[in-house]
Symmetry: C2
Subunit: 334 residues, 2 copies
């Protein structure tokens, strides 16, 4: 198992990226090689902070980075020696089995799509995000790779999300829901109504439409939507959680009795914060490209990088892409 | 000021509807007449529970109701004597200045659109919802009336939302944001990119794209989106708030010390619950129809109905529709 890590991507690169990589090198015994791809000097400086760096961690120099401000497509086409581009190249050439990046999401999507191409039968790759619900983890796909989607694309996302839930999250026969605005077949926009038919005619365990209020109830294991809606859902959820956190802080400090109460609840509040912490969920795979590619949040800590590398290993070992290739043909335009 | 209230719409009709109407009749002195439209026997039975029903509350009989299960368009076309249909008729004939309903949202939209028609220059009406943010109330439009929207429609929603924020919520020169998935001009789907140009060329105080995580931060006073996205945003927000409430309850009860802490925080928790309570926000107006029409949540209590009637009065008094008519022409297809 060989993993290429984009050492320069993310708000806390290369420090946190190197930290997570070192932890993965120490703890994940089935990895034979981890490549830290990026500016060799600054990566080495970070690596030197650790007394016993595992020997199978190796630096691969790349002289450029894609910044968060650049237009992804332009950046990838113009800059030939970026850390994310080089890391993806290693998967393409077979030097690495998977790539992990906390960099500019658009740039990762463009680099992976251009260089690795899609799996046969997959028209466009999609980002799958794992979300916590009341009782388990679910997959939301697409979380932002495609803003305008045909019904057939939504069907493909349904298959890829279902395979991910089964193969990586261990959900037996995952229940798939289509994000819409009413649970009757007839509800939705023109695209979701067509997608409803396409998914109905597949072999997936399809529960029909789901609505926004079903998401965190965990009614289905997979939620399918276009990348515009998926992105809005994710960011809105973060926004609500943050607003509630803000109101709680204000209210809980309003008088000394409340402050005392808050002290008694410190453990509970910490445990809730952990539950809502996106870093625990191991990054978001870009599904449908011919190679394993895991994208993590721009603000990823070492902990998040460690989990992303762990998920990348799982995806390779469990032959995620073979399963997608085998099952994608059940999606047929109606 | 004369208000027609759909006495039969909503999960707790006619009891809660009558309760809210009686409260409005007592407290809102500028109302000269409130019509309770619905089955006269059951409405009278509810009214009789109150010792001193204001004299200007009057029952208007309607023999049918639209249920939550019916297809709105069919129900309105087939049933000629529904409570919502009759209540809207009263606005059309000039007997009432505004209509309030907690019934099937789709049926209210269809009845109001068919019977009242749209204001000149408005292609389609839209539902505006008022949301709490960290420091004030904002308007989200469209919250679910139109699933497939052109860029021009989004431009019209922008004007109507801006007028509502200024005229009803008292926001001076409201800042308008376009819901998208990145704050640069170039981000979004094909429709939002076009809408960006249309709104940019209007006289609105346009702040450009906003993202899901900006909503509850209150970055803008108005958020414009199609009804599919708006509906997903609202229901997702409710879902997140409920999931957090659920986790809090579980965590806060895990041991006696925490239970004690929760007691100390009872006031804070109550105040937060109030803040998140949709009933405080006075219902959602259907903007763009030739008449004032306020839709409230299906689970509306008497309190929610009271607030909706209050908002209906404001909209009539502040000449909301005249302002929309005057300003809608600034939206021009690019």
């Amino acid at each position: 198992m060989r993993i290429a890590v984009d050492a320069m991507g993310g708000d806390f690169a290369p420090g946190e990226i190197v930290k997570g990589t070192v932890e993965a090198g120490r703890k994940l015994s089935h990895i034979s090689k981890i490549y830290l791809v990026g500016d060799s000097q600054s990566v080495k400086r970070e690596l030197d902070k650790y007394p016993d760096v595992p020997e199978h961690i190796e630096i691969r120099h790349a002289s450029e980075v894609v910044t968060m401000e650049e237009t992804p497509a332009q950046a990838i086409r113009r800059k030939k020696d970026t850390s994310i581009g080089r890391a993806v190249d290693m998967v393409k050439s077979g030097e690495a089995d998977a790539v992990v990046s906390a960099g500019n999401t658009g740039a990762v999507v463009v680099a992976a799509t251009l260089k690795l191409r899609t799996l046969e039968g997959v028209d466009r790759p999609a980002i799958a995000t794992v979300l916590p619900t009341v009782d388990r983890q679910i997959v939301l796909i697409d979380a932002g790779a495609n803003t305008d989607c045909s019904a057939k694309l939504l069907g493909e996302f349904a298959v890829m999300g279902s395979v991910y839930s089964r193969v990586i999250l261990g959900q037996k026969d995952p229940v798939v829901g289509l994000m819409s605005i009413g649970d009757e077949d007839s509800k939705g926009n023109e695209t979701t109504k067509q997608a409803f038919q396409i998914i109905s005619n597949s072999d997936l365990n399809f529960a029909g439409n789901v609505e926004g209020h079903d998401i965190f109830e965990g009614k289905t294991d997979v939620i399918v939507c276009d990348g515009f809606v998926g992105n809005v859902v994710l960011k809105t959820s973060e926004s609500v959680a943050r607003a509630i956190g803000h109101w709680m802080k204000t209210e809980f400090k309003r008088n000394p009795i409340r402050v005392l109460g808050t002290l008694f609840l410190a453990g509970a509040l910490k445990s809730m914060k952990r539950k809502l912490d996106p870093e625990m969920y191991g990054g978001a795979p870009l599904l449908g490209v011919n190679g394993i590619c895991i994208i993590t949040h721009g603000s990823s800590s070492g902990r998040a990088i460690f989990h992303a590398i762990r998920v990348a290993c799982d995806a390779v070992e469990q032959k995620l892409n073979e399963a997608i290739s085998k099952e994608i043909s059940q999606v047929v335009n109606q």
